[in-house]
């Protein structure tokens, strides 16, 4: 029997995902029609012997209750949300809820960061984990560019044994292009290792007066994985499958594209195929929620997700965009590289356009650059355009590279601005 832990963080985290995370917890932001972490849940459910999923984070319970209930029903498995009393770090939460994880004595458990997007080769990862002698941890790894590797956990391995011999989180100089994907298999025997780190911290604080009062706060990468490197108990499975972090709102468009692509082989029924009369024209891949209404003269795609209750008018053109629940896109308007928030409205003949920030296609292994909002001159970097919830874009205006916070009624064309 297996279990899975999804680390979802809390409202103070994921601020780079604003304004999309202002009205919905980031883990529930829909990518390719599903809440971000439902893709994790789905991958777990596809494993026959995975019995329980634990979400660990510090969002208020009320924000996740509905999602948890939905998931239980949909996938017919035990799913629980375990709320940390305070942010405990990536390993602190695991340790705090160790009894819950150990119940039923699982053979191993997966740990996944909530903010990653991947095809989650969990079966392969577990098979690999079992094959290693006395493995406590198996990390899914992937190749990055030299420069981008500095933003991730970098690993040096023994090429013959796949053992991790050196681990550094976000090094300041180049260490290795093999990076940690934030997807792990842990054996239950990892808990004594975490306990050791926990106790050492307690002792250091209470006896020697060093360290912080938040003694339960343990970072998985720095405090557990780094020391485990070179002990022969930690291994890496290197994959070249698609993988990306979802840090900034801009990366949502990129993630959306890849999940839609995955649907082609795994869930083709989720992709819209024009059939018979009344269907709109599309350029694949496009996901349209069955409750959305799209006029037959609209043209959607590629890489478009249309949420529930959305209304798309005649002659509308949308590409490389996510339209969230109950938004209205009025006739003849154009939406490119943008995210339209819940209940927002785009007026007729309006143009809502952003600038893509996809990984450099000419560089092998390049990842999404999570560029900051402003460049070193203090000018806004061109980004995808994001409308928060209930934003209204007037007819015939243009909105270019803008971020608009929720509940805003715009009155004019705007370029390269953040609208509070």
């Amino acid at each position: 029997m297996l279990k899975a832990i999804i680390l979802i963080g809390g409202p103070q985290k994921g601020t780079r995902f604003r304004p999309l995370s202002l009205d919905i917890p980031k883990p529930l932001f829909p990518v390719a029609g599903l809440p971000l972490i439902q893709h994790h849940v789905e991958a777990c459910a596809a494993l026959g012997n995975l019995k329980e999923i634990l979400l660990i984070g510090f969002y208020p319970v009320a924000q996740l209750q509905e999602f948890v209930n939905d998931m239980q029903k949909q996938y017919n498995m035990t799913i629980k949300y375990l709320q940390e009393f305070i942010a405990l770090g990536t390993a602190g939460g695991l340790y705090h809820f160790r009894d819950q994880i150990r119940y039923g004595n699982p053979d191993a458990f997966f740990v996944m960061n909530g903010d990653i997007c991947a095809d989650f080769p969990l079966a392969e990862l577990y098979r690999f984990h079992k094959q290693q002698n006395k493995a406590l941890v198996t990390i899914m790894g992937t190749e990055a560019t030299r420069q981008q590797s500095l933003n991730y956990g970098c690993m040096v391995t023994n090429k013959d044994t796949n053992e991790v011999t050196h681990y550094v989180e976000k090094p300041s100089s180049y260490v290795s292009t093999l990076i940690n994907c934030g997807i792990y298999v842990f054996s239950l025997d990892v808990f004594p290792v975490i306990a050791e780190a926990f106790n050492a911290k307690q002792e250091e604080y209470y006896r020697n007066g060093n360290g912080s009062r938040d003694t339960g706060y343990i970072q998985l990468e720095q405090e557990i994985l780094s020391p485990l490197a070179g002990t022969g108990k930690m291994f890496v499975l290197q994959t070249s499958n698609w993988w990306s972090q979802l840090k900034t709102a801009g990366s949502a468009i990129y993630a959306n594209r890849h999940y839609l692509e995955l649907y082609k082989t795994r869930y083709p029924e989720r992709l819209y195929t024009p059939s018979g009369e009344g269907g709109c024209a599309i350029i694949p891949d496009v996901h349209i929620d069955p409750t959305a209404s799209v006029h037959p003269t609209a043209v959607l795609g590629p890489n478009v997700s249309i949420g529930p209750g959305v209304s798309i008018g005649p002659g509308v053109r949308i590409r490389e965009s996510i339209i969230l629940a109950n938004a209205t896109v009025e006739q003849r308007s154009l939406v490119i590289y943008s995210i339209i928030g819940r209940g927002s409205r785009v007026g007729q003949w309006a143009r809502v356009e952003g600038t893509p920030s996809d990984p450099d296609p000419n560089k092998p292994f390049a990842k999404m650059d999570n560029v900051s909002l402003f460049n070193s001159d203090g000018r806004m970097n061109p980004s995808i355009t994001i409308l928060g919830c209930s934003v209204s874009v007037p007819s015939e205006t243009i909105l270019l590279n803008c971020i608009v916070l929720p509940n805003k009624e715009l009155s004019r064309s705007i370029k390269n601005e953040i609208i509070l």
């Binding site: 003269t297 005649p314 002659g315 053109r317 590409r319 006739q331 003849r332 154009l334 490119i336 003949w349 143009r351 356009e353 015939e396 243009i398 270019l400 370029k415």
Partner: protein, 363 residues
């Protein structure tokens, strides 16, 4: 012969200010409100009894001469080209055409070729004959006279002086670029590059030989794209008042719009206010056009949005294109689907495949 009325139109050079349109067609033949600029003037002159029009040009353009001759034959007017071997300014061309102009005892009209207005040549003639002096300048009222040279005259309309760009308000009347002059004025002009405004009129005014005729209605120098569009708005509004039957009324047409009968407009469009659409133009479904001129045989594909644009002959504007901010497309420009053009001039036969977000000249 001796009593015939004549006019001289100062066409001048290449019309560079109206490029890229004038790269394909001489400026007098660029259509303003679906009619070549020159024809607006010649028709009004013919209506006032002018039988011979002299076009003062400083370059040779066979296409222009041929096309103009054809139109002239239809209207029963004689067109003569007076070619300048070097640009002669605004007065020199009169000296060059002296022989023709002095063949009649009648006063002759002089026009800057960029002017669009109601062309009240009959009233101007009567006014001129009535005061009996050597010349009359048409003046028009402007909001900000400090940008122009203003004309100062007395209650009897006798011009006293001209003041260039007055800092303090003196008058809000400026020279409208239309004159009627007696043949005797020709003796005041030498055959060299010279300015009628600076080197002829001030002396006539000093001699109390120059009167001002106040223009009623609209006036615009349409020599550059911004003013071309402004002039179009004024012209269409003038049609609304004086000749509303000429304007197009149809579903999807908003405000003052002029559509050639051979143009095709699709469903669910919103055209206007202030739009002219030339012959053979095709507007597909769901297009919105405001304050623009679409020239002959252009195609605007579905769901595009255009404001303050001049679309050249045989251009093709793609679907879901947004174009605004005084964009001028030269002849046969192709704009790709879904692009955004924010102002600027595009030279003829250009293929635009990516958005132009800041105004610029696209070679």
């Amino acid at each position: 012969m001796i009593n015939e009325k004549r006019a001289l139109i100062l066409v001048g050079g290449y019309g560079t200010r109206l490029r890229p349109l004038t790269l394909s067609r001489p400026k007098p033949l660029v259509e303003f409100a679906n009619k070549p600029i020159l024809l607006h003037q010649v028709e009004a002159l013919v209506a006032a009894g002018v039988t011979e029009v002299i076009l003062a040009v400083s370059y040779r353009a066979e296409q222009m001469e041929k096309e103009i001759m054809e139109e002239a034959n239809k209207m029963g007017v004689t067109i003569t080209f007076s070619h300048e071997s070097e640009p002669l300014g605004t007065a020199g061309p009169l000296a060059l055409a002296k022989d023709i102009l002095s063949r009649s005892v009648q006063p002759f009209f002089v026009l800057n070729s960029d002017i669009i207005c109601d062309f009240p040549f009959r009233e101007l003639y009567d006014f001129h004959m009535n005061h009996g002096k050597e010349g009359t300048i048409v003046v028009t009222k402007v909001e900000e006279p400090s940008k122009y040279g203003v004309v100062v005259y007395d209650d009897n309309k006798c011009i006293g002086s001209f003041v260039e760009k007055p800092q303090e308000f003196i008058s809000n009347k400026i020279n409208a670029g239309l004159y009627i002059l007696n043949p005797s004025v020709l003796s005041r002009i030498e055959l060299r590059p010279t300015s009628i405004e600076k080197e002829v009129f001030p002396y006539m005014a000093a001699d109390k030989q120059l009167y001002a005729f106040e223009l009623k209605g609209f006036w615009m120098d349409i020599g550059q794209p911004k003013d071309f569009l402004k002039g179009m708005c004024l012209y269409l509004q003038d049609l609304r008042i004086n000749n509303p039957a000429k304007l197009t009324k149809d579903e999807g047409i908003v405000g003052n719009v002029l559509v050639d009968p051979t143009a095709k407009i699709g469903n669910s469009c919103r055209i206007g206010p202030n739009v002219t659409i030339g012959p053979g133009v095709v507007i597909e479904d769901g297009v919105c056009i405001k304050r623009s001129t679409i020239l002959r045989d252009a195609v605007i594909r579905s769901n595009s949005w255009l404001e303050s644009c001049i679309i050249g002959w045989r251009c093709s504007v793609g679907r879901w294109v947004r174009m605004e901010g005084i964009t001028v497309l030269g002849e046969d420009v192709i704009v790709k689907d879904e692009t955004y053009i924010n102002g600027g001039q595009v030279l003829p036969h250009k293929n635009i495949t990516v958005s132009v977000r800041e105004p610029q000249i696209i070679m």
